[in-house]
């Protein structure tokens, strides 16, 4: 797939190609922002911007991890239900710990610890099955998707797992408050994005992921520990799912079988809209962030504008997603 066009590629004057490839998603984002601003004057207001950014943060944090998995030639369909499962486990542990730790920082920290450990364990399981047992990632994570979704429904007895009421009150500011008017989810998302971008472009880890995705054989021959690396990408993703959950739970204080449905598709779509190559070998974290924002903005704008029929929201979403990628097509074809 990837070697489609190199022949046809006219002397890839690197500058020119660069620009469209890079600008594509950014242009789409700007166009959306302009559209939103023209539709509603509150669109660029502090409240709306904060809302959109904060609610992007779950998918965003996960999508950053997904960028590494995809760059390294993998895929993870389980993240949405993994998030639901981790949230469920976290809520149950916190509820169970209330009598022991009381309501307070200790409880919240314990909950966070549980979430990170659960995420890590889930990621590790995926990683081991894929990298060591060598089962197709698509199947492992499709199976895991069913398993976690089903487990959380079972844990919740078909209903909703709710965090202890006082604990919720105490934990709530983690979603709604922040520093200097920037709420915590936004801060955490920004940090994860920056660290992710650094890791992708400025550390051996990122480079090795790209090499693994481009050509596993070459990576192996270059003394890259391929299996461990592949496993690491899933573990990192699992950890980030845990982190996303830590931001998610204080928002509504509950988890159920319908938590995180389709997050996986949204995260993957964001990664690809951002310019990462689905078959691996090339990834960029900042692009993913742009992709996540594009997806959130589409929803936001559809709610702010009054479209002909809300039934058509999905169609408009679909068209915009395709258009956002058309913009970077030119650049894409030289990959």
């Amino acid at each position: 797939m990837s070697n489609a066009t190199d022949i046809a590629a006219e002397a890839p004057a690197p500058r020119r190609r660069f620009s469209l490839h890079v600008l594509g998603p950014v242009l789409a984002l700007i166009a959306l922002i302009a559209l939103g601003a023209s539709l509603n004057s509150n669109f660029l207001g502090y409240g709306n911007v904060t809302n959109v950014l904060a609610r992007s943060s779950f998918i965003g944090i996960i999508a950053v991890g997904m960028t590494f998995v995809i760059t390294a030639g993998g895929i993870d369909l389980s993240v949405g239900s993994m998030a639901a499962f981790v949230a469920g486990v976290m809520i149950m542990s916190m509820n169970a710990l209330v009598p022991v730790l009381g309501i307070g920082v200790a409880l919240v920290l314990a909950g966070m610890g549980v979430a990170l450990i659960a995420g890590l364990a889930a990621g590790l399981l995926n990683g081991v099955l894929i990298a060591k047992v060598r089962i197709e990632a698509f199947i492992v994570t499709l199976g895991a998707m069913g398993i976690y979704r089903s487990l959380v429904t079972w844990l919740a007895d078909g209903g909703t797992l709710s965090l202890n009421f006082e604990a919720r009150g105490f934990y709530r500011p983690v979603y709604y408050d922040g520093i200097l008017g920037v709420t915590w989810p936004i801060i955490v998302f920004a940090l994860v994005a920056i660290l992710g971008e650094l890791a992708m472009r400025h550390t051996p880890f990122g480079r090795h992921c790209a090499a693994l995705g481009a050509n596993e054989q070459v990576a192996r021959y270059s003394a890259v520990k391929v299996d461990r690396l592949r496993m690491a990408t899933y573990v990192v993703l699992g950890l980030l799912v845990g982190l996303a959950t830590i931001m998610y739970v204080p928002r509504l204080g509950s988890a159920s079988g319908s938590t995180g449905v389709l997050w996986e598709l949204e995260a993957i779509a964001a990664v690809i809209i951002g310019g990462t190559v689905l078959k691996g070998g090339y990834g960029r974290v900042w692009g993913t962030v742009v992709g996540v924002l594009i997806l959130s903005l589409i929803d936001n704008i559809l709610n702010l504008a009054s479209i002909v029929s809300p039934y058509l929201n999905g169609a408009i979403q679909g068209v915009i997603v395709i258009l956002a990628v058309v913009l970077q097509r030119e650049g894409k074809s030289t990959d």
Binding site: S2, N3, D6, I7, A8, A9, E10, A11, P12, P14, L198, H202, T203, P204, R207, H208, A210, A211, G213, A214, N215, Q217, V218, A219, R220, Y221, S222, A223, V224, K225, V277, G281, Y282, D335
Partner: protein, 503 residues
């Protein structure tokens, strides 16, 4: 020169692939400060032996000694840690990554936890400069030509400070000038005490740099001696097991009928305004330096690249941009990039052989017995050494892959065949067969264009040579005018003051 114990030694190396044995107890030693050449026919087991020494394959039987002590490399990383590096016959580069990223893959320089990109870029540039190769380290490999890729591959090995450097046909895709640079570097390494294992089918190189020569035939070592006084003819004979007569057959005399007419062909950014004709029964050579645009011109002609201008086959204008139309008109092109564009390495021999001419085996249902027969014929006609007809194309030795590619192209029964680098990686004995084959094609009234970076090949085969330089046709030579000197002068534009093509 050999002194003390060998750096790396293999004793009684046996290697089997499944039931097939390809090495039958080879003993082999590499000494510091010595170039040891390993030569042999295609499929003799050279690459296999080298991979075993480089830690990429483990021997089925036999042992490896490092500085006299037995070792067992469970993975290639250990070999690399011991200072053993290898340049593969087939590229070992990640196409999506940049030159610098490939050179430093697996041993990136860092500052703290971060990559020291500037340092790596500079180091990469230096390494490439030592090889006289001036590509930007930020270029992606997929945007490089085949020779430049090879230079990157070499630079990568040079950058790793090897005690033992194993080079598997590093010059197969290089032209003379680049080969010279490489050989100079090898000399330098030898002086610094590196042990070098070298293989090539270009025997003059072996003569120039080898201190010792070992000859493999069918996985057995037939000879190992000082290079001193070992002539090319003797080498060839030791490899092939018979004496080689004249390498080039007599040149065919072309008919008058023009079969291919290229008129003002321009491949944007690569080739400008190329016009030439080809006659029935003619062998037309295309010479030029690397990057002259020969490949691009040919790809433009057969419709693999967008181009303007007109191509006429047997007087009929060819539909542009369609490889299929070209093939149906009797014109086919054999690519120089066997691995990326020529063969499906993960598929078996039959599927590769018939891919280009699949419609000859039925439009609705593929006639598998006929395919099978075609494979048998190809194996005999092109002397493809296969141990198992069900094997994957990627498991063939490099030279045999080239033969399979040739067979695949010829299966389309073209009237006109363009062969880009026909004998890349082919052993001397087979080379002769291929030359005879080309001459026979011409004699049978087909027409052949040979694009080659090996000047002797162009000179020996073609009755007419077109020289390209910097994207345009720089001159044409016929008959006795075809000399190395005349070609090179035109290629470098010495006798030609037309303006350069602007990319």
């Amino acid at each position: 020169m050999p002194q003390g114990t060998s750096v790396l030694e293999g004793r009684g190396i046996i290697r089997r692939f499944g039931p097939i044995q390809v090495l039958h107890g080879v003993d082999f030693a590499l000494n510091a400060g010595e170039v040891h050449a390993l030569i042999g026919e295609n499929g003799a087991g050279k690459s296999t032996m080298m991979k075993i020494l480089g830690g990429y394959l483990s021997p089925s039987e036999g042992e490896l000694l490092l500085d006299g002590a037995p070792v067992r490399f469970t993975d290639q990383r250990q070999a690399e840690d011991a200072g053993i590096l290898m340049i593969h016959q087939e590229f070992n580069l990640a196409l999506q990554l940049s030159v610098e990223e490939n050179i430093f893959l697996g041993r990136e320089l860092r500052r703290g936890p971060f990559l020291d990109k500037a340092a790596m870029r500079d180091a990469a540039r230096d390494l490439l400069a030592r090889l006289d190769c001036h590509v930007d380290p930020r270029t992606r490999i997929r945007d490089l030509s085949v020779p430049n890729r090879q230079m990157v591959e070499i630079a990568r090995a040079l950058g790793r400070r090897a005690r033992v450097l194993i080079m598997d046909e590093p010059t197969a895709v290089l032209t003379n000038r680049e080969t010279d640079t490489l050989l100079t570097q090898i000399d330098r390494l030898r002086e610094n005490g590196t042990a070098i294992l070298y293989t090539s089918h270009k025997l003059d190189e072996i003569r120039r740099i080898a201190d010792r020569v070992t000859v493999l035939r069918d996985g057995t070592q037939v000879l190992s001696r000082e290079a001193e006084g070992f002539t090319e003819d003797q080498m060839a004979e030791a490899m092939v097991g018979r004496e080689l007569s004249d390498l080039f057959p007599a040149k065919a005399v072309p008919h008058d009928e023009v079969v291919l007419e290229v008129d003002g062909l321009t491949v944007p950014g690569r080739v400008r305004d190329a016009s030439f004709t080809l006659r029935r029964g003619e062998v037309l050579g295309f010479a030029g330096l690397v990057g002259a645009g020969r490949t691009e011109l040919m790809e433009g002609i057969v419709g693999l690249r967008p181009s303007t201008g007109r191509v006429r086959v047997m007087g009929k204008v060819l539909k542009p941009g369609s490889v299929l139309a070209a093939r149906e008109a009797g014109l086919v092109y054999l690519t120089e990039d066997r691995k990326e564009k020529g063969l499906l390495l993960g598929k078996n021999l039959t599927q590769n052989l018939t891919l280009l001419a699949l419609d000859r085996f039925g439009h609705i249902r593929i006639d598998k017995p006929a395919e099978d027969r075609a494979l048998s014929e190809a194996i005999t006609d092109f002397d493809i050494r296969v141990k198992d007809r069900a094997m994957l194309a990627g498991s063939l030795s490099g030279g045999n892959q080239q033969k399979l590619l040739l067979a695949k192209t010829m299966l389309a029964e073209p009237e006109i065949v363009i062969i880009d680098e026909p004998t890349r990686g082919i052993d001397i004995g087979t080379k002769q067969q291929i030359y005879e084959f080309i001459a026979a094609l011409a004699a049978a009234g087909k027409s052949v264009i040979v694009v080659s970076s090996e000047l002797p090949e162009v000179i020996g085969l073609a009755s007419r040579v077109i020289v390209m330089g910097r994207g345009h046709i720089a001159g044409e030579l016929t008959g006795t005018d075809i000399t190395e000197d005349a070609i090179l002068r035109r290629a470098m534009g010495v006798t030609d003051d037309r303006e350069e093509i602007s990319a």
